[in-house]
Symmetry: C2
Subunit: 337 residues, 2 copies
Amino acid sequence: MKKKISINDIAQQLGVSITTVSFILNGRAQEKRISEKLVKKVLDFVQEVNYKPSSLARSLRTGKTNIIGLMVEDISDPFFSAIARAIEAIAYQSGYKIIYCSTENATEKTRELIAMYNERHVDGYIIVPPEGVEQDIKLLLDTGKPVVLIDRYLPAIDTDFVVVDNEKSAYDATCHLIANGYKNIAFVTIDSLQPQMLDRLSGYEKAMQANGLPQLVKEIAYKSSEQAMQHIAAFIDRKKEVDAIFFATNYLCVSGLKATAGKGINIPQSIGVVSFDDYELFELYSPSITTVSQPTDKIAEHAINLLISRLKKAVSDKKFQKIILPTSLIVRKSSVR
Amino acid sequence: MKKKISINDIAQQLGVSITTVSFILNGRAQEKRISEKLVKKVLDFVQEVNYKPSSLARSLRTGKTNIIGLMVEDISDPFFSAIARAIEAIAYQSGYKIIYCSTENATEKTRELIAMYNERHVDGYIIVPPEGVEQDIKLLLDTGKPVVLIDRYLPAIDTDFVVVDNEKSAYDATCHLIANGYKNIAFVTIDSLQPQMLDRLSGYEKAMQANGLPQLVKEIAYKSSEQAMQHIAAFIDRKKEVDAIFFATNYLCVSGLKATAGKGINIPQSIGVVSFDDYELFELYSPSITTVSQPTDKIAEHAINLLISRLKKAVSDKKFQKIILPTSLIVRKSSVR
DNA sequence: GCAAATATGTAAAACGTTTTAGCAAAATCA
DNA sequence: TGATTTTGCTAAAACGTTTTACATATTTGC
């Protein structure tokens, strides 16, 4: 079993000092007036023995790890995995690595994960925050670690965030259903106080109100896909008057489709459907499902660039950026009759 | 901005030595005969100031990071993300953290990622290997880092792996189509020499041969979902005699469904469909798609337990485990007529 | 020919842990 | 009482870097 080589070995074998090797490897040779001859000698040798500095030791010394912690709700949700991959790609180009994890929207798990990331000395965070982690995030900010929130923000926390215009998006989507002749439009959401959910609800409510239509909101306590399906099925059975459903998230819509699939309900004739968050399934489903599509690439781009710019300048100008992006309504068959 | 507290601060403020604090925190107090009184005093103080040891410093000293590198082909593919989440869950329970990334099945990217993980001193690896990374993996093994391969193995590398019985699975799935009266069954796969793909092909070939049926294999050079769709569409147009398609991966099948959707082709009447790898879409699609379902939980469980057991015992008994798991055929409407 | 400036490099501290080897005081023994 | 053992704790090295502050040789200026 081979032993890893260290900067010390390099220095010894070449008969120079560790300092010199370090300067050369960090591109400070000219500044430190190391002769070109020696620079070449060292670089060649380093190449030859395939020496890689220990990032552990380097981080210990510099206090920087070049690692960004990314915490999303569920890495297997296509919306979040799309964002994650986009963020990763940009970060790599700037020399940052991403380590990600799924919070499952659970407060306790998230707090533990934050503690773990903090312990691992990640340089900065991009977080999709569940409720109840305000104190933990404040702690990060207090210790000088930049935090960018995405998908939703925490009203109590003053920091950068990137979200979409949830209220307007929901308003527009609801109006689209109304324009297609639907009148008894139900809004199916999760029982959560998170701002993005409240904004979507508010958009729906305003649209219905503006059109003098009755509001019908169903909150699901999301435990599992199976349970959600049953609750939605029961809801549809009970509320015969409903002629359209606006699902507040993609996974609620999937559960909803499973619920209707069993009943032989005709979409879009007997019930119109619109969902938040696009998904490959919605494009291929029969009928295809109309969705509010979030600009995942833009979200990723803004978030990571914002974070990197914070990391670059040690100065923390207290001007936090609150970025609100527009969505696009992708009209498919499920909402047109 | 608060400063992080170190073991040194603890020791100073309590008027004891660093060594003592370290022993107590590592649960070696009794062994080292530290008085209970002092133990309590230290633990209380540590709790009070919420001290967390620097994992960087610890890792530098011990050579262990308690981090496992997980490299899958595409973290946004539901098959891989399911495995990733299961692995993560088990690893956490044993005190290991997972950092994952997507190789995109690209040799160069994977080699860079391996180098990066190595540089970060991860303790062990779980890898879905693309072609051409044999040397890099051999290097890891030579430096004493355990590596478990999943989904596929590398014939040239002797190490642990967990795969499914691809040949038998493909054989059975093909026989299922044959039993339902399909005769001109095409096998659509990617142009890859990876063993799991060759095994699936081989299973198809043997089944067709055993039943005296003509073989028709279409290899797609997978670049993008869009391109794959066009190639499959062209293939279907050209080969009018084909009455069933067996897709070798889930993403090929999705492209295939997009291709047929445009043509008004009737599944399962005019063309039967079976896919490798289950997927939520396949359950909800009309008609629902028959799939070869891989036991993602079992794969994850075996892989992580194998790796952890290697990490626990420094002894490397050269007996590598080659685990081959069975799949299950989930029969849905797309293949029954 | 001598001081000053420049060129080329290095010693050593620091980052925050773990761990080996050992020391002083108290307790036990004979 | 003096030798030995036990108890309770600690000094210092090591892990592999970065960086500050300085050292030595050579060249330049006059």
